[in-house]
C-alpha cells in the first residue's frame, strides 16, 4: 500500500500534475472500440466536415472526460477516491491537438469522516484554449 498524497499536505492553490496526450485517430478509434462510440464525425474527415467542422473528424467529449479522470487518478494514487467530476465541452478536440488536463485546489474540508479536496479543472489545447472547464472532488487519506 503506497499513499501518494495526504490530505494534510494539500494547500489551496496546489496544482494537479499536468497530464497530456496528443490526440488523433489512434486515440479516438481505441476509445470508439471500448465505448462502442462509432459516430461518423469521430471516424471520418468528410463526416466531420459535414458536421460543420472544417478540419474534419474530431475527438469525443467522453474521451476528454476520461483524461480528466485519469489525471486525477494519477495525482491522488490508488489509496484515494474520486468522488465527483464535472465538465462542460466548450471547444472541439481537433486532430493532433495536444490536450493537457490542468487543475488547482480551491477548497479542502473534512466532512462525515472524509477528507474532501475540491479542484477547479480544465483541459487546454496547445494554443492555450480552455476546452473543458469543470471541477472535481477527491477523497484523500489522512496521516
Amino acid at each position: 500500500m503506497t499513499i501518494k498524497l495526504y490530505f494534510e499536505d494539500i494547500n489551496i492553490g496546489d496544482e494537479l500534475s499536468p497530464w497530456s496526450r496528443t490526440t488523433g485517430f489512434m486515440n479516438w478509434n481505441r476509445y470508439a472500440a471500448v465505448n462502442d462510440e462509432f459516430v461518423p464525425f469521430h471516424m471520418d474527415d468528410e463526416a466531420g466536415r459535414a458536421a460543420k467542422n472544417e478540419q474534419g473528424a474530431f475527438g469525443m467529449g467522453n474521451l476528454r472526460y476520461a483524461y480528466i479522470v485519469n489525471a486525477l487518478r494519477d495525482w491522488i494514487g490508488d489509496e484515494a477516491e474520486i468522488r465527483e467530476v464535472g465538465c462542460q465541452y466548450r471547444a472541439i478536440n481537433q486532430k493532433d491537438d495536444v490536450l493537457t488536463v490542468v487543475g488547482k485546489v480551491t477548497e479542502k474540508r473534512s466532512e462525515n469522516g472524509e477528507n474532501l479536496v475540491t479542484l477547479e479543472t480544465n483541459v487546454t489545447n496547445q494554443l492555450g484554449d480552455a476546452t473543458c472547464p469543470g471541477h472535481a472532488v477527491v477523497v484523500l487519506p489522512g496521516r
Partner: protein, 166 residues
Amino acid sequence: MSEAHDEESMITQDLVDQKGVWGNERISPPIAESDIRKWAIATYWPEKPPAIYWDAEYALTTKHKGIIAPSDFNPFAWPIDRPPRPKVSNAARKGSKGKTGLNGGQTDTYGVSMRPGDVIKARSRLKDFNERQGRMGLMLYTFTETRWTNQDDELVRTRISTGIRY
C-alpha cells in the same frame, strides 16, 4: 414578448410530460476483467495504464483489495439489443429547429467502485430543461439524470448530463 419567443420553440408537450419520469431499468452484462483492462489501455493510450486496472496481484495490496474499473468506465457499451434513442431527444426534434444536438457536458458523483463481476443497473429521467438564446439562436438545454447501482443495490454513480439542441 421575449426574444426567445420569436423563434419556434422546441419544448413540446411530450417533453413537459417526461420531466421527472424515470425510464425503464437497463441491466449491464457482468463486467469482465478484460473489459476494464481494454478501457484503461484505450483511455491512457499510448502510455501504460495504472496497475490497479489490470494487475490483480498488485490490486490486492491496495485499499480496494482487487481490480477496480476507472471511474468513467461504461459497462453498457456493446449491448446485444440496441436501446431506442431516448424519447427526450426525439421530443426536441420538432419542425426545423432542434435538428443539431451537442453534448454539453456532465457532472458525475461517484459511490462504490465498479469491479470485475459486477452487474450494473441504470435508470434515467429528464430532470429539467430550459430554452434560451445562444450563439446558434434559440437553444434547448436538457438535463438528464442517470443513476447506476450494482448487484448489491449500492450507488455506483449519479450523472447529470447536459444535452443541447438548436
